[in-house]
């Protein structure tokens, strides 16, 4: 497998990371090197093996549907880039 420059740009867009043309060539070489390492996996026959997503076989705990946290909105919004009247500000999305 080998990633093209177009592939790199497509992945960068999926990841929401701007990559200019000069950078894309560098990433292409590095990512192809890393995928070269990863390709070792394909030689192994894993038919019948159950995928392991986690170190412990756990089921998600449930908790009572009750208020457990105090209101700390001001403290949490103090570290936000832009807020107004308790709202996070972002560029307009819906006209």
């Amino acid at each position: 497998m080998s990633l093209s420059l177009q592939d790199v740009q497509r992945i960068a867009h999926l990841a929401r990371i701007r990559v200019d043309e000069a950078e894309a060539a560098g990433y292409q070489a590095q990512l192809n090197g890393i995928f070269g390492l990863i390709e070792e996996m394909q030689a192994v026959d894993t038919s019948g093996v159950a995928p392991m997503s986690h170190a412990q076989d756990l089921s998600q705990r449930l908790r009572a549907d009750s208020v457990s946290e105090p209101d700390r909105r001001a403290a949490f919004q103090a570290v936000a880039p832009q807020v107004e009247n308790g709202l996070y500000l972002v560029p307009k999305v819906i006209e």
Binding site: L3, R18, V19, M41, A50, A55, V79
Partner: protein, 482 residues
């Protein structure tokens, strides 16, 4: 000077020193040595001394715990209220945490003052501490060399005696590999033993916090503080409190040590092979027996890891979008441009590479071939350990294939850097506990690390082996001249 936290706790208990005095000494050493080592991102003497005074007051009131007043440094991946918490990234270079991680809460409850936040590879992605936005950390044994990573700042701080202990996190070897490269003792617990709440996420199914110190006994004392059930981490295990020091004095007679043949192959350099061999002989003298075991699938662990960890990272790091916290690009036309420029400018290149790998292996048409295949290999790798532990109590081998390498030596080729963790990654994939302790020096005077791997929840047994080894050796007492 090697002051263990155990010896410092004794001095405090006997009234021979105070927490304020101890913290002043360490802060002075940090001030003198940190410019050359760059082990700390943030030091705030006033805050540290306030916490130290509170610890002294607590002792005066007769309410001191075992470690009250003993200072500790925290990896900058742990959110600590009122402290800048950067995770080694420009993305969080302005983030003063509004809350404490569970681990930080535990150390505060124990009355242990924070000496500062330690440098690290950006978002814990790296094996040399060279990906930090705050510049590389230097190895106290040779400042032209790396301390390992990602907990490189914590390792250098403890090795250079800038702190008696520090916290670290380990996703693929990030506690054990830097511990090996700097000649200290570090432990990664069984997955789920230490809460991940407030520990900035890299790969959630692998990340685990743990202690870094000069001795196994200190690691046991620190793990007593760090470990414990926390309902705010959905993967925190509901287990009773354990005393991890309980087996320290147990004799090693009858101990069965598994030696994986795959760890003693061609990749091991002469000095490391020799030092590990000598450690095995020492343990045999203490009554241990060895048995050869096989971990045939461990050779695939690096490949599987570089699918699974980036996949989880690409999801976890999607939260850094310039909206709720951290960096936002100054100029943008619309929301998409804001995201793309914020992330392009806020992340360093290693983080971007891993996010892109993750996005790719999870994307339509590639999921089965990469992500699912890697999860199946993870099962095979974990099963190897289950089989091996039927024949032995602990597994032993080298921590890292080489001693500390030169700054810049492996930065050009990511793949070469990834192979630094060839002996540690399988342990994370299986979710087992592992540790590294010093077992000698190479011809250039650089420390060599011995890795112990325990069965699930066998931290106390692993610490027992390490402590008995340290009673019979003095590698862990050696400190660099600074």
């Amino acid at each position: 000077m090697t002051d263990t936290i155990k010896s410092l706790a004794a001095l405090l208990a006997e009234g021979k020193t105070s927490s304020v005095e101890l913290c002043r000494d360490y802060l002075a050493r940090i001030e003198r040595l940190n410019p050359a080592l760059n082990a700390f991102v943030t030091v705030d003497a006033e805050k540290t001394l306030r916490e130290a005074a509170a610890a002294d007051a607590r002792r005066a009131a007769g309410q001191a715990g075992v470690l009250t007043g003993v200072p500790i440094a925290h990896k900058d991946i742990f959110c600590a209220e009122g402290w800048l918490t950067t995770c080694g990234s420009k993305m969080l270079s302005n983030f003063v945490s509004p809350y404490d991680a569970h681990v930080i809460e535990q150390f505060k409850a124990a009355g242990m003052p924070c000496l500062g936040k330690t440098n690290m590879d950006e978002f814990a992605m790296g094996s040399s501490n060279e990906t930090s936005y705050y510049g590389p950390v230097r190895n106290p044994w040779d400042t032209d060399r790396v301390p390992g990573g990602s907990s490189g700042g914590s390792a250098a701080a403890v090795a250079g005696r800038l702190a008696p202990a520090a916290t670290g996190t380990d996703t693929g070897g990030s506690i054990r590999q830097p511990a090996a490269l700097t000649g200290i003792t570090g432990l990664k617990p069984t997955y789920g033993v230490v809460s991940r709440y407030g520990m900035i996420a890299f790969a959630s199914s692998l990340d685990q916090g743990g202690p870094m110190a000069t001795t196994a006994e200190d690691c046991a004392l620190l793990l007593n503080v760090m470990a414990g059930f926390d309902p705010r981490d959905s993967t925190s295990l509901e287990r009773g409190k354990e005393d991890y020091t309980r087996d320290l004095e147990r004799p090693l007679a009858g101990l069965k040590i598994g030696l994986p043949r795959e760890f003693f192959g061609a990749g091991l350099t002469g000095d490391t092979a020799r030092a590990v061999e000598e450690a095995i002989n020492q343990l045999k003298k203490l009554g241990a027996q060895t048995v050869e075991v096989g971990l045939p699938n461990s050779k695939l662990s690096v490949a599987a890891y570089y699918v699974l960890a980036p996949a989880e990272a690409s999801s976890n790091l999607s939260r850094f979008d310039g909206v709720r916290y951290g960096y936002r690009t100054p100029e943008y036309k619309d929301l998409n441009e804001m995201y793309e420029k914020t992330r392009a400018e806020g992340f360093g290149s290693e983080v971007k590479r891993r996010i892109m790998i993750g996005a790719y292996v999870l994307s339509h048409g590639y999921y089965d071939a990469y992500y699912l295949q890697a999860q199946k290999l993870r099962r095979l790798i974990a099963q190897d350990f289950v089989e091996a532990f039927k024949q032995c109590d602990v597994i032993l081998g080298p921590t890292a294939p080489t001693t500390a390498f030169k700054l810049g030596e492996k930065t050009a080729d990511p793949v070469e850097m990834y192979l630094s963790d060839i002996y540690t990654i399988a342990v994370n994939l299986a979710g087992l506990p592992g540790m590294s302790l010093p077992c000698g020096f190479d011809a250039q005077g650089l420390p060599i690390g011995l890795q112990l791997i325990g069965d699930y929840f066998a931290e106390a047994r692993m610490l027992n082996v390490a402590h008995q080894y340290q009673l019979a050796s003095d590698w862990h007492t050696r400190a660099p001249t600074l």
